[in-house]
Subunit: 372 residues, 4 copies
Amino acid sequence: MGNSLAISFNFKFINTIFVLEMINAGIIGGAGYTGLELVRLLLMHQKVKISVVTSRRYKGEKVSDVNPHLFPFIELDYEDVDTKEIADRSDIVFVAVPHGSAMDYVPELIERGAKVIDLSADYRLKKEEYERIYKREHKDKEERDAVYGLTELHPEVAEADLVANPGCYPTGAILAVAPLVKEKEVSPYRACGVVGQSPTMVKQVVFDSKSGISGAGVEPSETSHFPNLAENIIPYQITEHRHAAEMRMELHVKVSFTPHVIPSIRGILTTAHVFLDTRVTKTHDEIEEIYKQFYDGKRFIRLRNGMPSLSSVRGTNFCDIWLEVEKKSDRIVVISAIDNLVKGGSGQAIQNMNLMFGLEEGEGLWFPGLVP
Amino acid sequence: MGNSLAISFNFKFINTIFVLEMINAGIIGGAGYTGLELVRLLLMHQKVKISVVTSRRYKGEKVSDVNPHLFPFIELDYEDVDTKEIADRSDIVFVAVPHGSAMDYVPELIERGAKVIDLSADYRLKKEEYERIYKREHKDKEERDAVYGLTELHPEVAEADLVANPGCYPTGAILAVAPLVKEKEVSPYRACGVVGQSPTMVKQVVFDSKSGISGAGVEPSETSHFPNLAENIIPYQITEHRHAAEMRMELHVKVSFTPHVIPSIRGILTTAHVFLDTRVTKTHDEIEEIYKQFYDGKRFIRLRNGMPSLSSVRGTNFCDIWLEVEKKSDRIVVISAIDNLVKGGSGQAIQNMNLMFGLEEGEGLWFPGLVP
Amino acid sequence: MGNSLAISFNFKFINTIFVLEMINAGIIGGAGYTGLELVRLLLMHQKVKISVVTSRRYKGEKVSDVNPHLFPFIELDYEDVDTKEIADRSDIVFVAVPHGSAMDYVPELIERGAKVIDLSADYRLKKEEYERIYKREHKDKEERDAVYGLTELHPEVAEADLVANPGCYPTGAILAVAPLVKEKEVSPYRACGVVGQSPTMVKQVVFDSKSGISGAGVEPSETSHFPNLAENIIPYQITEHRHAAEMRMELHVKVSFTPHVIPSIRGILTTAHVFLDTRVTKTHDEIEEIYKQFYDGKRFIRLRNGMPSLSSVRGTNFCDIWLEVEKKSDRIVVISAIDNLVKGGSGQAIQNMNLMFGLEEGEGLWFPGLVP
Amino acid sequence: MGNSLAISFNFKFINTIFVLEMINAGIIGGAGYTGLELVRLLLMHQKVKISVVTSRRYKGEKVSDVNPHLFPFIELDYEDVDTKEIADRSDIVFVAVPHGSAMDYVPELIERGAKVIDLSADYRLKKEEYERIYKREHKDKEERDAVYGLTELHPEVAEADLVANPGCYPTGAILAVAPLVKEKEVSPYRACGVVGQSPTMVKQVVFDSKSGISGAGVEPSETSHFPNLAENIIPYQITEHRHAAEMRMELHVKVSFTPHVIPSIRGILTTAHVFLDTRVTKTHDEIEEIYKQFYDGKRFIRLRNGMPSLSSVRGTNFCDIWLEVEKKSDRIVVISAIDNLVKGGSGQAIQNMNLMFGLEEGEGLWFPGLVP
């Protein structure tokens, strides 16, 4: 239990010293699945006090009346207060509203000195790219250099005031292949001295992702209607899902992406079909070694020696990864499994918060998955 | 294969004689699960031609465009025509609209000479009882003596012009215990000459029913939202579900009823806890014999010697029944399994139609369940 | 967050003082769902150190290799050591083997001074009753007065050396109706001075329970075969499930019990049909008040004002209860929801352990359910 | 209803003439899902009489006792008779045993003049290829030129005595892309006069398939254990599934294949990521036109203008196909949906049988899917 004990002792040490210095965290949009998952996880975080949870729809109702599973853990009511007050009452604000709305809050929050983690898509891409992909005008006057909060790849979140939390699909997809496209050393071109070419051995990647329906949100829909989803699997936006833009931004390789919804509540399993430059011939062990080095010290990435499952990561911030090299072929298949609401959303946001406040990245997130 | 062959030869015989005399069947409300199941089953019925399918919402669209699984089996468009025309174009009309709306169509359909099977609750109870239970005024001027279409118990449907098709829960519940409450011979009171008492050995019945979600209809709702229903079971109207009135009307014993929705698309499994007068002591074999005699010749009732399952009846008009007598107790537990959309709705309606038109009751309904 | 903070401060206080006095907990049978749930929960318990986990089948393998979701939280290997050594290395031993096997370990564990919580059925009933119900000889020479560990009803577990942890069904069933059968004050007989009769207003109870399949264990079977259980609900042992004996032992009323397996991994929802003496006429508010008084201060019992769901208790030690009084009837329907592996097993065992070691009963168990 | 009526009249015509000439069909291996699906479907086929059903395990038991859903449709007992007798009693024999066993029956069946449809893998590949892929010796002395029974692509089954029924995955995968790789006209190479190159515009295909668990068979296993599969999706044999050999044999292009099991009983949805030679630029309409021409007159292929679903094909022999051309890319995504036990197995076998006996290919298979 080394690691876990390491943390819990760490807990106690910090507690005794800063016991009164709890982080005040505000949540804008606390009635959706993302907001509720932030509440669930922050309630178990020993350094955080939830300062405000907003919801226009449920204004004035107790959070634990609307969401009985949170009783008696939270005594707050849902509020509908202005951005200024939210900033004043919070050290950090999690923005958990749909894309297009987050940009209505972020500028003022930043100006008023609150740290911000935006779980929407509004600050993940450059404004111009955002407007092209999301087909809407970006209302923020400024081009803010938000840090893309894929924690393992962007330690600079520790210094950020504004973090753009990644999409659920990009989190699982990018983590699955990052070691292969980022490891400069493994480029065959360097080896054979080719100049001015892609510094990677990856030619293209096909991400075929399967997500639980909770990613579609708390509102009932045709897709979430039980008779439509049970005993079925539903592909959607099969050639033009907007999350592909984040994958391309981070990986700089040819990316094809197709998402599906499966009859499961939580979880995203991504099957990455990675095609290498045929001049590259590496064994399974060599590839695995690249992954081990790349993710060395990243406690939430678990390299498996067997098939990942959604249950092993259920309710947790882990990303489980497993890969197989196809014999006599240029294909590597990498499987990644995450909980879309935790590592794919609220959990990663808290992981980022931990770094932004000088805490160990695992605080409040260090527990095993709900199996079975 | 005796039975099935019996029918299929019967088919051919009838075909050669009345080959041109197809029954014209109209469906009012053809876009809900009940209406669509009528279409699915009638398309496999060799004596029926669907003459009209109505839907205000989809007026003008092809039925098989709105419901791709029906392509290319039906070429009709959804229509929104007046009751008169529906009656003129149909020998029989299935009314598959919500209770409270059916009574807008039935009177005129009857007056214009169409036979009618109403799948709503509007004609199952006496008007006065209906208004008390459904808390609404009954708009039909007349008290029509519709036949309650629980086929096995009401052979008089053969002579009926108006059949009130039973609710899904009452179908499974009533069939489970009818032999015990209807068999006069088994009354202990007769035996011991007690006068003026209930002519049955059953003191009370607790029906605890579990239904697939399709019973809640085609519209997405909180209950049918996958994250709410999956990994869950949802009791509702636990002391006052309106279907209890039909059970009491048919059984004349003390009935307690509590329904639940399970994470399944189709099917209703009813657990009937039957409490007998303690003066009754019967063995399992004696009770089973009562059932065998009572359901002798009823081809859609299958007395099991093992546990019924929803899969064995999936997509079919069967009602599977199994019972166990509790040792040293006054309780018999009877389990019944039906497909809520078939025997619990559209299938039984077609079974009734067959009798109303002098056909074998199994026509178009005689096939095994979809297992697995 | 009053309650939860209360606990966590309590944590820190105790930590600083007894920081070295961790409880050494051994687990006999650590490869089944019950044993694994003990591991999962104890890993989050700040006062417990797991000292030994046994498994004949996996002897010598790392617990986290066999169960990847536990990596890297536990570094132990599965062992197959004798009872003496287990006792020597543990302050408390959880026995998580099938009934019939537990009695092979308990006597020696007790003699060697270890506290024991047996999660099997071996010590729940008097030996004679046990042998009658379980149809096997009880190998323990002595009649040990184990405390029946339904924590809310048996605070005396605090002084016990041997606790017989209740069955999963009895836990949800007994908690659902205990206030009605135990509250002497509400007996109509006292009121009207009837002598020598049952001191309760309850005449009989029908427990119709629906359980997730994890209750059937980790071994694949016909019942747990996905095509058999999905889209289905499976009643079993419908008149003679052995858990009924525990319910009768605790409630002293006429109990009828029928269990079902539903297509869900975790959770038990129990529908209690409670029939009162007709001389009793109480309103919903009066009944609810009885429950409030009875469970006052019991933090894991949540009286709901809406329908309980398995998701609200998923992964937690809560028992959610909701009731409705049937109008003009003698029936009250009480619904209880628990997680069969937590409050119905390992969680309640830890709740008992907490009391046995002078800790707050919620330690290590105080977190909200996994919703959605 | 044109098509369906066409068939049913056709029925009656044939009936009146050859009413006594029923096809005698034997089934070797009638207790697995494939064999049981053959029974279910053949019972609804008006030209077939099941002559014998074998099972060593259930020898002597009534088929409808072991499989209650088939009561009272079949009166046969399971038998364990020698191959000679099976051949003597059958016009056609369906071999539904695991690969490696089928070759024990096929040679003698053929020699004795029975037509044979083998649903195992034993005769799908050339012997040498078979031995390489399945890593076992092929016991058949001869190299029999069995026809690969993918009906739409191999009309020559009509003349075959031995048909090797395709695997479930290859059926859905090959049908999804056949028009693109087979249509000579669309080859860019012909157009630009390049010689000696692949006569197709397809460079490579990644088949990412998702299957219901019934494909894994009737025996309980770790994978089919409900707590392991529910709320999960399980990839397996991700780089070396043997079915890839059939896809390559039929398509002659670079094929990458990765299968997954989803928490569904039936159905296979295949997502085909098709990469074209960049010299090809075709619009969605042009591609769709290629499909329409290619599958013109194939009644079981339904080109959709919306997303296919497993429910639309549930229980049927249809293959639903939908495609989308990725903008500014070389990728076309084609989605196909089939029922793995029908079009992916027993249904296609019967479709082949129909052609082998001069019947319309849809006989006994022409009904809509079970929706919802």
